[in-house]
Symmetry: C2
Subunit: 381 residues, 2 copies
Amino acid sequence: MTENINFDKYKNIKRHMGRELIDLNPIQRGGIIPVESKKAIYEYCDGYSVCDYCGGRLDKVETPPICEFLNDMSKFLNMDISRPTHGARESKFIVMHSICNEGDYVVLDENAHYTSYVAMERAKLNYAEVKNEGYPTYRINPEGYKEVIDKLEDEGKNIGLILLTHVDGDYGNLTDAKKVGKIAKDRGYPFLLNCAYSVGRMPVKGKKLNADFLACSGHKSMAASGPIGILSIRDEFADKVLRTSKTHPVKEIEMLGCTSRGAPIVSLMASFPHIVERVNHWDEEIKKTRFVVHELEEIGFNQIGIKPKEHDLIKFETPVLDEIAQKDKRRGYFFYDELKKRGIGGIRRGTTKEIKMSVYGLTWEQVEYVVDSIKEIVENC
Amino acid sequence: MTENINFDKYKNIKRHMGRELIDLNPIQRGGIIPVESKKAIYEYCDGYSVCDYCGGRLDKVETPPICEFLNDMSKFLNMDISRPTHGARESKFIVMHSICNEGDYVVLDENAHYTSYVAMERAKLNYAEVKNEGYPTYRINPEGYKEVIDKLEDEGKNIGLILLTHVDGDYGNLTDAKKVGKIAKDRGYPFLLNCAYSVGRMPVKGKKLNADFLACSGHKSMAASGPIGILSIRDEFADKVLRTSKTHPVKEIEMLGCTSRGAPIVSLMASFPHIVERVNHWDEEIKKTRFVVHELEEIGFNQIGIKPKEHDLIKFETPVLDEIAQKDKRRGYFFYDELKKRGIGGIRRGTTKEIKMSVYGLTWEQVEYVVDSIKEIVENC
């Protein structure tokens, strides 16, 4: 049966993005790993390599220092207990599956990532949405949580969890988690903050934001090689979320024993000093982002979402690109094509009505080059 | 808060096992990656790097060739449809969670891996065990499945799944999957084969074994960097296991959308030609294993489990090591210590009553060196 397989395609797997192109894709910019992580991955690339000195559970491994790392991560996040997971989506599912009962309602923002919905569906939960304010800001008003909670309570529905997307992946809106957390606390509901786009890029202090759970993504925003995430929780929820097996008492049920073995957790550890340091420069990242918005709005782009930007993910309406696409023989692909010629990637091929981009972590020189390139394309095409 | 963190420990994370020591740990030997995978990981170590050209789902990505790879993997496994998961445990949970109803019984072998139990507990299922034959073979008799099924049916219990551990991690016993699969088929129950220790080490043809599902592990036995696994299924179960979200119709619920992004899946692809080739040399691996058993039984080791060996994982009772430990001032650590001096690792520190080991993938020269070293230690200590 394997005679029909052409194995050539597996023999020299290469990537050009990142090395040859400046990558503007917002889901990529926070996951670019520093050189020290590349070295660590090289050391630990074999399958079960982090388990050389395992006593029975990943989060207790001392060599490499996973146990200490998780404690340090809790300090960094201003939470009590942290566990590695396979990513933010898995962290969300674990919280939902352990603290909610089947059929419970989750109250969440309309800007929530699709994985929040899929995790709820897998956990057999219902949901009620706090709507955003619509075009052009798509802002989530924290007060909206009160109304939705009131309505569900009036209808006698059981609410299991309040979920907020700290920064959404559509508009890059940063929502006031502290206020939503306060509402959840006042009403007596647990509060999960999806930090896939925040932790590791910008400073996040969980308890100050009234969070009971933080779902964080290593591959999205903590300069780690995927799949890896962190679930960080308050002590009072530890018994439920980290409950152990009846038949195998050392093993945590929701982790299925252990989670991210191998290269990803080592890359997350090796990148930890890097991300702790980089979140201190968040103001500078915002400056770069606002500069991009300012410059590109001058040539006919229109930033959607909250203004001024408070996160690096930018969504633009780009009628000016759409106009060019009408007359360029490459149609919608001209923009992708022209960017590529200039060594820039990460903008979705063929889209010209609206684009998403980020310049997170680029140098000012690179940011200026990106802006100048886009201006040049718009002016000359 | 981060002032109290000592970051030095994350700055030069190194591993000695594997590079400096011959690793005899059975969970490690199948997960050692070939050089072509190291290169591929280097290319794709950034977080979302495999998603450069994603149209919405990991298993459909064409660059790198994930979609083709999954088709090729299905051919290799003699199954219909394959998906990447985070590992064999996640594959088992996905099957249980999608095809069983809460409270259903899973019939499984007593030698099952702990993750099978934890996955059942997470999926809120009951179980009934097919007992092994006890000391010294701990053999699972396929006929035992009939009895357990009969008993459950007589009691009016609902059986959701038949699970067999193809090769167990305690004794390295290979159980006749075809017979168990036939029993499951005759009774009309779906059959899940846990191949964490078989697929990637030895030839496995799913349909020939009457399997409906194969749970495979990349980091354990497919020369891949964890966490990555494969769930391979028959067409008739696709609708249930791979059902998609009501709110996000392209996303598969049990995968939470996408699973193993980044380095692990790329390492699995790059290692694919290597594992397809290496399973052809399974006879030679068995020869090495039996040679080790033969030689070490001569100096007082006693192989536990089915004889002669049909898998590379060897469990020995080692009364001779225990005797030495009584009089050596290093106590139980003498063996670990003496092996290390000779460049051999992977035997659990401090254990002398029984040990687990594997010489899978070592050259004959290395196998002989391992045997000679152990003989020398026993004779001279």
